[in-house]
């Protein structure tokens, strides 16, 4: 019984290698999963931060759009053209139609 029985219960060298391989694969998967999770959360922070920055920039863009619209408004430009630059609507004799 003694050593013979004990030898039967111990794993053979081959079985041990397979067991070791599976354990290593499991560990690799485990670490990869953890790494991916950490990365995911880190990217989550970065995405939210980028979204907040985008929102602020969009807000600035809107304000600049309003300012631009105000500056190019014909209500503002037409009297400026007339008063400051003396521009007037050309008469028919000043218009040359190029065929």
């Amino acid at each position: 019984m003694g050593h013979g029985g004990l030898q039967k219960r111990m794993l053979s060298g081959r079985q041990f290698s397979i067991f070791l391989l599976i354990a290593v694969c499991f560990l690799i998967v485990f670490f990869l999963d953890t790494w991916a999770g950490v990365k995911s959360i880190r990217y989550g922070y970065e995405i939210v931060s980028a979204e907040d920055k985008a929102r602020k920039l969009t807000d600035i863009h809107k304000k600049l759009t309003i300012e631009y619209s105000r500056l190019i408004s014909p209500v503002r430009l037409a009297p400026k053209a007339k008063m400051e630059f003396g521009l007037v609507t050309p008469g028919p004799s000043q218009i040359i139609v190029v065929p």
Partner: protein, 566 residues
């Protein structure tokens, strides 16, 4: 050894039971508590859509602001809080202090603060303050097309104009977000829960901001020059029905609508009917020619300026003898018009006017549109056939008048006016696009051509409307001088509307314009008051649109001569 083994086994069993209890039996409850701590649903309002002109110039848009409220009963040190709030938000400190000491459960500190300032105040950490994301509406062109665009009040509630009529398209829907936070409260995941489009749709109008400004300046000049009560003008492309300008004077700035009296808010081009006066003679001529009972050469005796029908005396501004139909329109004889109308009969006149769109809404898509008033001919008194012929006893809007005039420009085809070019989804794709729509044929193309010649004669030097002609161009038009009923319902000591309606160039019309100046002083004739504004609108618009002169030999004779009558 066995005892130690039993002890550890018991401890392990307790742990296992506890773990089972927490992970399995209490799982739902504990998960919910955890979720409440790190998951948070937040609602924001979708952005209201913008309004553009045809060249994508912004006419109305919304910007982010923050509404700031306070719970005075939760503020620990109201004096200090008021000082900080007033300094950061640049508000009156004593007013803020009064609000914080009011004892109310909630007060608004400010409804429209820029987000930058609101964030600075948030970081000050004053307990009892609440911050709500909001939007305000901005109209960067100020008074340009103010009555047409309308405005929104508090919380972007649409009140008038395009803002009101197309509110369902423009308004943003609620957006629901799921925020996942860490232990420090920082968000590291944000997901939109409702997938449907939540921002409002953008509206592109057919309006051209430059031509709109030209029209507003022209009628403003006329109103100030003749000390008139108000003015309006509409510019339309006759071939497509696109409206390029709807101008009302006095002007209106929707950014500060509270500073203007309510009657100025109204888009009178669409909402206010008026008696069209002698401009109606154009449509009388069309009815007469279409009936086959008259030709342009048909002659009537204009009784030297005074004619009695039943118990009414009809006057002409200038006495005429015998005039042809052509000349009746050119010289604007009321007596001639009355006689032609009685010649063709009330049914023919009514049918033609109805086909031109009078007495019905155009369905342009603007709020408060009036149908005007054209009673069925069966309800006319015997005198009505005569008076309606020269534009009394019928009321029309400026929009109806320009649409009807455009039918002459289109060879007798009535086109549907439109103010919307297209509606865009928030992602820029086209949701709806409006195309030109011809409603019906009103008169034959031959009749339309004959009437156009009469209208062109009106603008000749001896006609009533030479002042309407820009140098180098030909114009087909008609003057109108219409009495406005006084408060007693009579024409005694009344004001006038001075009108000019027409299109240009005569052969290939590009623009149709109607100008109405209400209650001018000094002179009230359409040819004197409204015609110059008409000319200015055409002249500047053609220059902007690069429409070449069609009468380049016109060296600009003195166009101020000619008959002044409606």
């Amino acid at each position: 050894m066995i005892l130690i083994g039993i002890l550890f086994s018991l401890m392990f069993l307790v742990i296992t039971i506890r773990a089972f209890y927490l992970q399995t039996l209490k799982e739902a409850e504990l998960s919910a508590i955890a979720r409440r701590q790190y998951r948070h649903e937040a609602e924001t309002k979708g952005k209201r859509g913008s309004i553009y002109d045809r060249k994508m110039r912004k006419l109305a848009m919304s910007i982010d602001v923050t509404a700031i409220g306070a719970h005075p009963d939760k503020i620990v040190n109201p004096e200090k809080a008021a000082r900080i709030v007033a300094r950061i938000l640049n508000l009156n400190e004593s007013k803020i202090r009064r609000q914080m000491l009011s004892g109310k459960s909630f007060v608004w500190i400010s409804r429209e603060q820029p987000p930058v300032r609101a964030n600075i105040l948030k970081k000050a950490g004053i307990k009892g303050l609440e911050f709500y994301p909001s939007y305000i509406r901005v109209y960067p062109n100020k008074t340009l097309a103010g009555q047409l665009i309308g405005f929104t009040g508090l919380n972007e509630a649409a009140r008038e104009g395009i803002e009101f009529y197309y509110d369902d398209y423009l308004k943003g829907r609620k957006k629901t977000w799921l925020n996942v936070r860490d232990a420090s409260g920082r968000v590291f995941m944000r997901t939109k829960i409702n997938r449907s489009l939540s921002d409002g749709k953008d509206i592109i109008l057919t309006i051209d901001a430059v031509i709109q400004n030209i029209a507003e300046q022209a009628i403003g000049k006329a109103v100030r020059r003749f000390n008139a009560r108000s003015g309006m003008a509409i510019v339309m492309v006759p071939s497509s029905g696109e409206i390029l300008a709807i101008a009302n004077y006095p002007l209106f700035n929707p950014n500060s609508y509270k500073r203007f009296p309510k009657y100025v808010w109204r888009n009178r081009v669409v909402t206010d009917p008026f008696e069209p006066g002698s401009t109606m003679k154009v449509f009388l001529a069309a009815a007469a020619l279409e009936s086959g009972k008259c030709t342009p050469e048909t002659k009537v005796d204009c009784e030297n300026g005074v004619y009695t029908i039943l118990d009414r005396v009809i006057h002409d501004t200038h006495p005429h003898g015998v005039l042809s139909l052509f000349e009746i329109v050119k010289y604007s004889s009321n007596i001639g018009a009355a006689k032609i109308a009685r010649m063709i009969g009330p049914k023919q006149l009514y049918d033609t006017l109805y086909k031109f769109g009078f007495g019905q809404k155009t369905e342009v898509g603007l709020p408060g549109e009036t149908a005007g008033k054209l009673r069925n001919y069966l309800a006319w008194y015997p005198i009505d056939t005569a008076t309606i012929a020269f534009g009394q006893g019928i009321s029309v809007s400026a929009l109806q008048l320009v649409t009807a005039i455009s039918a002459m420009a289109n060879g007798g085809m009535l086109v549907k006016p439109r103010i919307i070019d297209r509606i865009l989804n928030p992602d820029g794709s086209v949701l709806e696009k409006q195309e030109p729509e011809f409603v019906r044929r009103v008169v034959s193309s031959a009749v339309a051509e004959s009437v156009r010649k009469m209208m062109q004669a009106v603008t000749e030097p001896d006609g009533t409307g030479p002042r309407a002609v820009p140098k180098g161009y030909t114009v087909c038009g008609k003057t109108g001088t219409a009495q406005i009923l006084n408060s007693r319902g009579t024409y005694e000591h009344c004001d006038y509307n001075a009108l000019f309606a027409g299109f240009s160039p005569a052969k290939n019309p590009k623009l149709a314009v109607v100008v109405v100046i209400t209650a001018p002083q000094g002179s009230h004739y359409g040819g004197v008051v409204a015609a110059p504004a008409f000319r200015e609108i055409l002249s500047k618009s053609f220059n902007y649109l690069n429409v070449p002169p069609d009468n380049p030999s016109d060296e600009g004779p003195d166009k101020s001569a000619g008959l002044s009558s409606g």
